[in-house]
Every structure is written in C-alpha cells, then in structure tokens.
C-alpha cells in the first residue's frame, strides 16, 4: 500500500514537472520580429511603402522607419502586438494602428511587411521567415580550450 502510494506520488511529481516544462516551452519561445517598410509585390500588384512608419512595442518606440527600412523587436511567446504610426505620403495625416499577430512557433525570425499587412493581404503574403546567414567570423573554426590553458578559469567566479 505504502509502495503503491509512493509510486503514484512519484508519477504525479514527474507528470507535474513535464507539464511545467511543456508550458515553459510554449510561453517562453522567443522570436525576433523584423518589421519591414518595404514595397511588396503580390499577385502582380505592388504595395508601396509608407512615407514614415513609427513602430512602438510595449509602449516603447522601437524605430522610425523610412521606405526600404527595417526594424526589429524581440518577443517571448506567440502573441505579438505593436502600435504603428503611419504616414502614407509626405505632409499626410498620421494614422495610428494597433496590431496583434500570432507568431508561428517554428520560426525564430519573422518578417512582417507593413504595406502588405495594412492592405489586408493573406498572412503568407506579408509574413515570411527570416533566415540569417552566418558571418565569415561565425563560420571560422574555433579552438577548444584545454585543461592546461585553464589556470585562471575561475577568475570570473
């Protein structure tokens, strides 16, 4: 009886830890969102960039974008919201838009095209994956330190 109770207690503890870990994997997934103010070609039509687009994330101004410019913001979780202050043409009126986007779990870097989004195009038109290419420095082989070189390894302790 006691053994069975212990077994179920252990099983419960493991299940709880697995559940917490699964939760953390979902709510803690980090993404870098790249916000583009670039022209977009879709089904033969061109969507022009805004004269000026100011991006706010969590109440903080991330960037003031001119045409052909890109801003980036980091986000934890799959819900991303930002506020855009858009000016279509020089001297035009400022339009303020609150945007909430569901980010795909599998993508690390996500490009959001503002003109495409504002035109109401389908998601695959204005959202794409950002694939970073490693720099030459990043592609250089590293030397793995050996124990002997580690005399002062704890200096940062």
């Amino acid at each position: 009886m006691k053994n069975r109770r212990r077994f179920f207690f252990r099983l419960g503890a493991i299940a709880l830890l697995v559940a917490i870990a699964a939760c953390m994997m979902v709510i803690g997934r980090g993404h870098t969102v790249y916000i583009d103010n670039k022209s977009l070609e879709y089904e033969g039509e061109t969507y022009a960039p805004y004269y000026r687009a100011t991006v706010y994330v969590n109440g903080e101004r991330v960037s003031k974008l001119q045409p052909k410019e890109r801003a980036s913001a980091t986000n934890i979780g799959q819900s991303f919201s930002m506020t855009l202050e858009l000016i279509k043409e020089k001297g035009g009126e400022t339009e303020t838009v609150d945007i909430a986007i569901k980010l795909p779990y599998s993508m690390d870097g996500i490009i959001v095209n503002i003109p495409g989004y504002m035109a109401g195009l389908p998601q695959d038109a204005w959202m794409s994956e950002f694939v970073s290419t490693p720099t030459a420095a990043e592609m250089q082989d590293e030397e793995i330190p050996t124990e002997e070189e580690d005399v002062l390894a704890g200096a940062e302790f």
């Binding site: 830890l17 917490i20 870990a21 939760c23 953390m24 994997m25 709510i27 803690g28 997934r29 980090g30 993404h31 980091t74 934890i76 690390d108 490693p134 990043e138 592609m139 250089q140 082989d141 590293e142 030397e143 793995i144 330190p145 124990e147 580690d150 005399v151 002062l152 390894a153 704890g154 200096a155 940062e156 302790f157």
Partner: protein, 369 residues
C-alpha cells in the same frame, strides 16, 4: 586563565574567517574601490553563488565531506542551458525549463557518483574529485561530438561551423539576469536581486526543515557514525546516495542561476573550477569538512568574494601587476582548502588518540582491579 583559553579557542576555531577579514581589511583601502561599488559587486556575487554553495551542505550533513562532485550537477545545468538556448526559450521560462531539464541528468550523475562513493567510504572527497575529472571527459565527449550529430542542435550560434559540437561560448543574452532583474530593488545605488534572494531564502528554509525530517535525521546519524546508524536500522548506503543526488540536483539549479547572471556559458570551462571555488568560499566562512551551516555559506561568500574583487586591484597597486592579484586569489582558494583538510585530519587524529588513551586508561584500571 579560563578567559584566555576561551579567546584562544575562538581564535583557533575561526582562524580562517579571521584571516580573511584581515586580508580584506588590508586590501579594500589599497584597492581604492568605492564602498558602493564593492557593495554592489558583493550583492551581485551573493545572488550568483549562494545557491551553488548551499548545495554542499547536505553531503556534509551525511558525513561525506566536501562534495567535489557538485561539478557533475554544474555539467547537468550547462547541458540543460545549451539545449534551452538552442530551442530559443528565453527569459524566466528558459531558466525554469533549464532547471527542470537538469533534474534527470543530475539524478543520473548523482546516483552514479553516490554508488561509487559508497565503494570508497572514508575517501569520499578525493574520490568525488577524481569522478569530476572523469565526468568532465564524458561531458566533453557529449558536448563536443554528440551534440549536433546525435543530439539535434539547430542553431549555428550554438553549433560549431563543422556541423557538430558546441561553440566555446554560448550566449544567454535572452535570459541574462532575468531572475536578478525581476523584482530588483535599488537601495543607495546598490541593486538587490530580490527574486534571487527569495529563491535562496526558500532553499535555506528547505535545508532547515529537511534537517528535522526523518531522512534528515537519518543523514545526521549516518554522518556521526555509520555503524551505529546501520545498527539502528538505517539504510546507510541509500541515505548517502540520496544526499549526493540532492546535492547534485541543487548544484544543477545553482549553475543555472549562476549562468543566467553571467549571461553566457563558457562551454568547456564554466564547470571545471566551480566545485573548487564553492568549497573554498564555504571553508572561508568557517565551515569544516564535517560541520557547516547556512551562516558559514553567507559569511564565506561575503569574505571570499570581497577578496576576489579587491585582490587584483590591490595587487596592481602594490606590485604594479594585476596578474599577481589574480594568482593570489587562485592561490588562496587552493590554500584554504588545503588548510581545512589538514586541520580536519589533525582533529580526527587527535580525537582518535584521545579515545585510544581513554580506552587504555580504562583497561589499566580494569587490570588493576
């Protein structure tokens, strides 16, 4: 006369902390650091290290001495953080996930270490020290050859350009100081990482509570005398394994807290000296091989890290070469461990000879009758 004896006993029992207070008292003014800077650094290092050092208390309680095998837990924490970093889990969820992932690895390594230590009773410290070297080899095999080839690693920022193995440094920028900054309070320019201290507080309460539980009492009994404990019906081997497993798991958590504060993992060296420095800090706080308390941990961290902060600058001021200070603090770390081990051995032999003398006297008395 009695008062003199008391003072002598106090000085003898607290010789290491007193020595460090003197070193710090000399080095602080020489270093020229402002008190607010020093305080800030010490508070940061307290948050970073105390959890790791607290992990050493349980094996001491069960008579297994200073657990050099805590490096195994540190390795588990590092492996978990490498995986979390590759999966791009950021912030506090990343820290929590790394802690959870480190548990099975720590349990496995701790149980292995405990089993071996049971085969080497009375030589636990040197055995655990050598186990940590052995495990370092396995760790390097896993991290250098299996990660990326057998264990999937996706990101090139984590993986070596050749396609397998982990880079020398893995960035934890997206979870850097996330525990320390949440609920942090600034008092007179000093940042106090309240959440980290709360976690440390919970562990302290747990240790105090654990000592009073049946298992805690068993550990203390095993620590005092294994044979008596066995006669009392305690499963000595199992109790010792549990204490090492607990220490390894806590060391894994501690390493995650330590590395989130640092903001990066030195993949091949972060863990290598961690056991040594944690043990040195604990001993500086006045602990010994067979007795340590939470108070020793706090005092040790404050004194040891004050020395760690001021020694290079003081060395540079005195000799014109900061490396002297760097070497000095490393030398002191090893020296304090050596002194503690010598003191422990001397004390043990003294007790043994006193017991033998008592026995001899009793036998003589018996023979005289």
């Amino acid at each position: 006369m009695k008062k003199d004896n008391k003072i002598f006993t106090f000085l003898r029992d607290n010789s290491v902390p007193i020595m460090f207070v003197i070193i710090c008292a000399v080095c602080i003014p020489v270093s020229g650091f402002s008190y607010s800077y020093l305080l800030n650094e010490i508070v940061t290092r307290m948050g970073r290290n105390i959890f790791l050092i607290l992990a050493l208390l349980i094996p001491i309680m069960s008579g297994m001495g200073l657990n050099f095998g805590m490096t195994l837990g540190a390795m588990a924490g590092e492996i978990a953080l490498i995986l979390v970093s590759d999966w791009q889990i950021w912030g506090i969820p990343g820290v929590v996930l790394a802690m959870i992932l480190s548990i099975p690895i720590s349990i496995l390594l701790g149980a292995f270490c405990g089993k071996i230590l049971n085969m080497a009773k009375g030589r636990e410290m040197i055995t655990s020290y050598i186990i940590s070297f052995f495990m370092n080899g396995i760790y390097q095999l896993v991290v250098l050859y299996m990660m990326g080839s057998i264990i999937p690693i996706k990101h090139f920022s984590v993986k070596l350009p050749r396609g397998y193995g982990i880079r020398n440094t893995v960035s934890l920028l997206n979870m850097r100081q996330c525990l320390d900054n949440l609920l942090a309070v600034r008092v007179g320019g000093v940042k106090i990482p309240v959440l980290t201290f709360m976690i440390i507080g919970v562990l302290c309460v747990f240790i105090v509570w654990f000592r009073k539980t049946k298992l805690g009492q068993d550990m203390r009994a095993v620590g005092q005398d294994m044979n008596v404990a066995r006669d009392a019906g305690i499963n000595v081997e199992r109790t010792r394994i549990i204490s090492i497993v607990m220490s390894t798991v806590l060391a894994g958590f501690g390493m995650v807290i330590y590395l989130q504060n640092m903001g990066n993992i030195a993949t091949y060296s972060s863990h290598s000296q961690i056991g040594m420095f944690c043990i040195a800090a604990l001993l500086v706080g006045g602990a010994s091989v067979d007795k340590a308390s939470i108070g020793n941990v706090f005092l040790g961290v404050i004194l040891f890290h004050t020395m760690f902060i001021v020694a290079p600058k003081a060395g540079a001021q005195i000799t014109g070469d900061s490396m002297i200070g760097e070497y000095f603090r490393v030398f002191v770390s090893y020296a304090v461990i050596t002194v503690a081990l010598i003191m422990y051995e001397t004390k043990k032999r003294k007790h043994k000879s006193a017991a033998a003398q008592q026995l001899q006297a009793a036998q003589n008395e018996e023979a005289a009758k």
